[in-house]
Amino acid sequence: MTTSTDRYRSFVNSPLGSSIGKRLGLPRPAELRRHSPGSPLLDGPAVVLGSGALAPDVTLLLKAAGVAVVDADSPDRLGAVVLDATTLSSVADLGVLRDPLGPAVRRLGPSGRLLVLARAADTTDEPAVAAARQALDGFVRSAAKELRRGATANLVVVAEDAEPAAWESTVRFFLSARSAFVDGQVVRVGVAATNAPDDWDRPLEGRVAVVTGAAQGIGAAIAQTLARDGARVVCADLPAQGERLAVVANRARGTALQVDITAADAAERIAAHADERYGGLDILVHNAGITRDKLLVNMPEAQWSAVLAVNLESQLRINEHLLEQKVLGSGARVVCAASTSGIAGNRGQTNYAASKAGIIGMVRSAAPAFADIGATINAVAPGFIETEMTARMPFATREVARRICSLQQGGQPVDVAETIGWLAQTASVAVNGQVVRVCGQSLVGA
């Protein structure tokens, strides 16, 4: 898991760099708080605002997680501010966003969390209600851009009648250090619910996961993270990547499966391995992907086809086979790697962006069928993540790519992995058909 180092971030966070940076008004990317087993949910007490039905349950959740819940006017430096905005139904109601939410946000500490829980703005709502609900979208995204020192703001849209068990894993994720690089996102949570895990520190205990493209970079981090959270991991990658794959599999105490996902029998081989060695397959992470950048007018057929075959066709084929053969059944979690390129587009990446946008279409279309069997399929869309690939980018391009997000830095592979880990939890059954960007709220792909 070699990643390029962000020397600028180190510099502006050093004593000298900090004083120079302040005088020149340079951006100051913060050291983000990241999860390690046993670490507390929040780095400080929380304030819970709002008079909706969710607020008391959020308070209970926080207390159960060992977080002190304090009054809105307490002078403490806060770990999180949670607003239950489910009752906001008029423009006048939105006033709470300015006060008391505004002053509370001022007291957010480093890597603090602003989390807003809301109801969906539906076309069946009264215009005034829909306006108030939709207003939260713009509010949260803007607040996310204003937060500093690694703090994030996200919006969770909770379905009416959803039990706390439906949204607990999601609220925990957005509050925790696991969501370090997820910022300015809107996620919908449905009503489906299951039991909470025995241990929120090992939410994937006993689950069997397959990770494609596991030999390096983000895939290696996914394998490692899922294993840390209790999963038994099959690390899959091309036979030619076997040397690094073995190292990753051994580190994750899993097994290495050398397979070309574009081969006709790839799905069968993945299923056979998971069944033979582990008795089934619970989590499938379609992480494998390639880039073959070229301007459209110069795009050779081979580069076009290779990208679509690896990034999109293989996922469609494998999902179809595994569903048909009932390898993916009740409780299955499929997470697919999309990309902010697939949302915002990127020069030189018509093939790649098409494949990644295709993933989003696939996930949204497949979600109802997955829901029918108690399974889910979601996508994560990484933005600029520090990997060997980005370490090879030209210096100026890389620096710009790092700074054009609200967190003013590139993400780490583990940030993508943590997001996948949340979607892979049994307890995340109510999150389905969603596309979650892991981009530090990048200006592109919003």
């Binding site: 030619a240 040397e243 081969a263």
Partner: protein, 430 residues
Amino acid sequence: MSPTPTPRRAAVVGGNRIPFARSGGRYARASNQDMLTTTLDGLVARFGLQGERLGEVAAGAVLKHSRDFNLTRESVLGSRLDPSTPAYDVQQACGTGLEAAILVANKIALGQVESGIAGGVDSASDAPIAVNEDLRHVLLDLNRARTPVQRLKALRGLRPGQVVPETPRNGEPRTGLSMGEHAAITTREWDISREAQDALTLASHQNLAAAYDRGFLDDLVTPYLGLTRDQNLRADSSMEALAKLKPVFGADEPGATMTAGNSTPLSDGSALVLLASDEWAAARRLPVLAHLVDAETAAVDYVHGGEGLLMAPAYAVPRLLARNGLSLGDFDFYEIHEAFASTVLTTLAAWEDPRFCKERLGLDAPLGSIDRSRLNVTGSSLATGHPFAATGGRIVATLAKLLHEKGSGRGLISICAAGGQGVVAILEAA
């Protein structure tokens, strides 16, 4: 008194090897211990054996540094296996890998261990180079010297010529002939044609290339140091290209046939197999590809007895067949190690020859012929290369997988070795 254990058949769970490199190629700077440790870790990754304590690991190398006296144990200590896994070194020339597998399988059969890893490694690139023999004596005398006078006396033995080191020779100590020169004598005796040797060579390359292309090696090989396929493999070889090569062994005699193409090159590589009792495998949800049924080792007197250096398997196989009530045709796969194309062909010719079978093997009738379409169906040493001690592990894992794919049947392994030895074994589909 503990009860006498009932023998059972050891299961072949699977294998792992690194692609074989040509000597001086991609692994030129890798040591035997590097390669063996990496191969162990690849096997651990394939079967999820991290932190597992196995019954034992038996492996070896033919070309070995003196510092590698505990090569296998040191490799285990460097691997992801439980460090409390015992290990020992085995060395029986090119038979090392198969002999190691037989040793472990026999312990499993007797219930002495439940699991084990067997195989071997060799580097012709990182070969040991010893100091000049005269210099060695001087240095030993110097070491024994107690007084300054004795030391001076010892040092008087130093000569400029002693800077020339001793390098290992690929030759038989008792005849001074290289293995290839020995094979050339046998090839001439049996009148094996150049065309037949080249055809066997071409089939080996084509079969191995096809096996790679259909993914057969995906769970047998783990790439190493950037090499993803055997370096010696020539997928585009042809009879014309092979025919152009000049003879290199027995080349002084007219009509020499053995070339660099139809002989295995010096190679670097490592191969291991995971063996276990059925119960051990089942408890870990590991597959059983095949069982090791029986094995036999033979040796011939190639010094004075008038037999070819590499002909021992021709003697071992009939004994193994007789003990198991089988005939030569009773196999679905034949894995005959291709030290040289002519080695395979002389062995097959001997079994078809009434006189050899009567006079040398004491059989009333020829042992018979084999269905050549069942021979080395995924290629063998001519294509993969032949790191001496690694060949047995490669073949056992390959044959076990072939039998598992077929779902039934039986396979014969035959490996010739230096010193006039041969190790052979029978595997049966699980």
